[in-house]
């Protein structure tokens, strides 16, 4: 048996991303539906086999609809602490050389404070007949381990000494580690970027068990509401975008079915209602501001350091975030939207709290008992339609300065009435 025979481990996460997203969010597509979406039957068979193998049985399930099998994820808030989707990032393929170098080098450096590459080479076990460590392949592996943060080096003249990276938890008490573990259980679910914290929690868990002999129970503490786990499927893309934001690099961005563009990243927007993530940027290839959905991006690579003129373009774009409801209205001026809210102040006091908590600091004025006027200046009032509709008969759009928000909502309600009356 050889590692290369594995059909489950993969080189590129992109292989499973879209199919897994559709299985998790929709869970209603059969093999034929995926073929209609442009995914070959063979690819679907391979990837669904992998996805099923990565996830626990209780989470990913099969059912039969109209004689066709479909995969879906069984979600329950009581099990939400686990964040199973992040775990799919733990299936990257590896070679025998990868695994042997990773463990042997760190084991050797755990025994001795510092070692040179020739000393490590000398000490490495050499019983495997196909994986033979040489000066060259060891140097590559040492460089990789340095880059990945597991070991470090220092130079003395022309000699390079390698040592283990510091144990960052060394002076933490056991109780502090338990607190950190609890905190990570929380952050790996709540942060818009989840996978790095998922990795950290898993590794801290291992550290506590192995280095401290601490008992680690699996007792559930949290249940998360309104958690869009599927965002973790794009965390590798998001991380590259965040690196571009921090370093001030322009990015080469490849999207599904679109030309490669060069973008100056301004900020990432995470919408907590629908769990969509966007990059707000300046598209330098087409010379325009743009909002790009992170889940439509297939690859991100840094291109070049932005010069001061390019950085000032991005700086000038930052006010947009405060002026839009979420991401709509890049090229628009702000418009005033006025809504009248009517409700029973005694029995439905929560309505006023909802407006205060959810209304983006719009101005609220009491007109009379049970009647409030809400005003907000926003780039695209139409983007607020789902929120306004969520109040049902308690919210009435009065005006939206040249936008048809009122008419759109009126027509929506008419359509809804027709739907119910035709049942």
């Amino acid at each position: 048996m050889a590692l290369r025979d594995s059909v489950l481990l993969i080189r590129d996460y992109e292989n499973i991303r879209q199919i897994l997203r559709d299985i998790y969010i929709y869970g209603c597509f059969t093999r034929d539906d995926f073929i209609e979406m442009g995914i070959s039957g063979r690819k679907y068979d391979n990837e669904q086999r992998r996805i099923s193998a990565y996830l626990p049985d209780k989470f990913i399930q099969k059912r039969r609809v109209d004689k066709k099998v479909l995969l879906y994820c069984s979600y329950h808030i009581e099990d939400s602490e686990k964040n199973y989707l992040s775990g799919t990032f733990r299936n990257k393929s590896f070679t025998a050389l990868d695994v042997m170098a990773f463990f042997f080098v760190q084991q050797l450096l755990g025994e001795r404070k510092e070692m040179t590459a020739p000393e490590i080479l000398e000490a490495l076990p050499n019983y495997n007949t196909t994986v033979v460590f040489t000066k060259d392949n060891l140097r590559v592996k040492l460089d990789e381990l340095v880059e990945k943060g597991y070991i470090k080096f220092r130079k003395e003249g022309r000699t390079v000494f390698y040592s283990l990276t510091e144990d960052i938890w060394e002076n933490f008490t056991d109780d502090e580690l338990y607190d950190l573990n609890l905190y990570l259980k929380f952050v790996k679910n709540v942060s818009p970027l989840e996978v790095p914290y998922y990795f950290l929690e898993e590794k801290l868990h291992l550290y506590m068990k192995c280095e401290r002999n601490l008992e680690m129970d699996n007792e559930k503490v949290f249940a998360f509401k309104h958690n869009h786990f599927f965002d973790s499927l794009d965390n590798d893309v998001l991380l590259e975008i965040l690196r571009g934001c921090k370093s001030g690099h322009s990015l080469n961005i490849q999207m599904q079915v679109q030309e490669l563009i060069e973008a100056f990243p301004a900020i990432v927007i995470h919408d907590s209602t629908y769990g969509r993530q966007y990059l707000y940027c300046f598209d330098n290839s087409n010379k325009k501001q743009r909002v790009i959905r992170v889940d439509k991006v297939t690859s991100v690579k840094p291109k070049k350091t932005m010069d001061s003129k390019e950085k000032s373009i991005v700086e000038g774009m930052k006010c947009f975030i405060k002026e839009c409801w979420c991401t709509s209205g890049i090229n628009e001026e702000r418009k005033e939207l006025i809504i009248e809210f009517r409700f029973d102040e005694e029995k439905e006091a929560y309505i006023l709290r909802r407006i205060e908590y959810e209304g983006h600091e719009g101005e609220i004025t009491k007109k009379m008992d049970g009647v409030y006027e809400y005003k907000i200046k926003i780039r695209d009032p139409d983007e607020m339609i789902p929120w306004i509709r969520s109040f049902g008969e308690r919210a009435k759009v009065i005006s939206s300065e040249g936008r048809n928000t009122r008419e759109t909502i009126a027509n929506d309600w008419k359509k809804a009435v027709t739907n119910y009356e035709s049942i």
Binding site: M1, I77, N171, L180, V221, N227
Partner: protein
């Protein structure tokens, strides 16, 4: 470093665990640990390669006398990779940190991660449509409270607290057994789900209004978790929705209900999506709000009482615009 990296592979973690205390393992023990510790289905091509028994093919374990042992007779040191180190450092910029860690622990984390080069920051993510006045905004610091409640959950101990909201309710010195801490990401609020044994009922409270929380020594002997699951099961309801196949609506609808247990089907003949959502009775107001947000594109098919309620409300909403 890419996020999708082999050193984060689950088999690397598994091997790290086995390479401790100079332990030897029989084949049976290895198979048992594979079953217990690895998430998902084991990949036998991988496990057979890692635990090869053939001379010249062994990787990090040597096999002799029916036992696997580490090829290098020393414990594997557990170190954080760069992504994990950076994640540890970035915890310092997370707004919830003071709800979980003491000042002393925060300071230790700051000192120990000072030299870690960080090339990303979650501060470059702007979260939109988060409710205001929540845990990140209201200035309230839960300090060690969350850790205390977690301890109570694990040890099945009671907590004693006051819960006062002026003009609305006042409870003093109440004792309950917490079963979980619920956190709503959109509402940005912690709520405590607990069992009140004196009233034989489960209840849910906003942590915001709870004060003077103390750990009690009283232990609940029965299986609270099982009781809670039974309680949840008996309070679970199902709503069936028909959704029109308009791309942006379908996407919004499925995303908004993605944190409920649900079953969906696409009916090609009728060109409709049918979504069955399981929800807790106490969340019905929220379900109604979400259904209304979809306007005329989502129609409640069952249950009838919810269908009638939504119809009543859309009819009333429609009348608002008749003038």
């Amino acid at each position: 470093m890419n996020l999708f990296d082999e050193t984060e592979n689950k088999y690397f973690e598994f091997i790290s665990y086995l390479l401790q205390n100079n332990r030897k393992y029989s084949k049976g023990e290895v198979n048992l640990l594979i079953e217990q510790l690895l998430t998902g289905e084991a990949d036998f091509d991988v496990t057979d390669a890692i635990f090869s028994t053939k001379e010249g093919e062994e990787l990090v374990f040597k096999y002799s006398d029916g036992q696997y042992e580490s090829a290098i007779a020393t414990d594997f040191p557990i170190r954080m990779g760069i992504i994990e180190q950076q994640a540890a450092k970035s915890l310092l910029e997370n707004e919830y940190i003071t709800h979980f860690l003491s000042e002393e622990t925060i300071e230790k984390l700051r000192t120990n991660t000072e030299s870690i080069p960080v090339d990303w920051s979650t501060k470059d993510i702007q979260v939109k449509n988060l409710f205001s006045s929540g845990a990140t905004e209201n200035g309230k610091n839960f300090g060690s409270i969350i850790s205390l409640i977690a301890k109570a959950i694990k040890e099945r101990k009671a907590i004693i607290y006051d819960n006062v909201r002026e003009g609305m309710f006042e409870y003093r010195n109440v004792s309950v057994f917490p079963v979980e801490i619920e956190f709503s990401i959109m509402n940005d609020r912690f709520r405590i789900c607990a069992f009140e044994s004196s009233q034989n009922r489960f209840l849910k409270m906003n942590l915001d209004t709870m004060e003077n929380i103390k750990l009690s020594s009283e232990v609940y002997e029965e299986d609270l978790e099982e009781m809670y699951q039974t309680f949840l099961k008996s309070n679970t309801r199902i709503v069936k929705l028909d959704i029109e196949p308009v791309d942006h609506v379908i996407e919004r609808c499925f995303r908004i209900f993605s944190y409920y247990d649900r079953k969906a089907r696409y009916d090609k003949q009728d060109n409709k999506y049918r979504l069955e959502i399981s929800y807790l009775k106490f969340d019905e107001t929220e379900i109604i709000k979400d259904i209304l947000s979809l306007g005329g594109y989502a129609t409640v098919i069952e249950p009838k009482h919810l269908q009638k309620e939504i119809y009543r409300r859309v009819l009333a909403a429609s009348k608002l615009y008749e003038d």
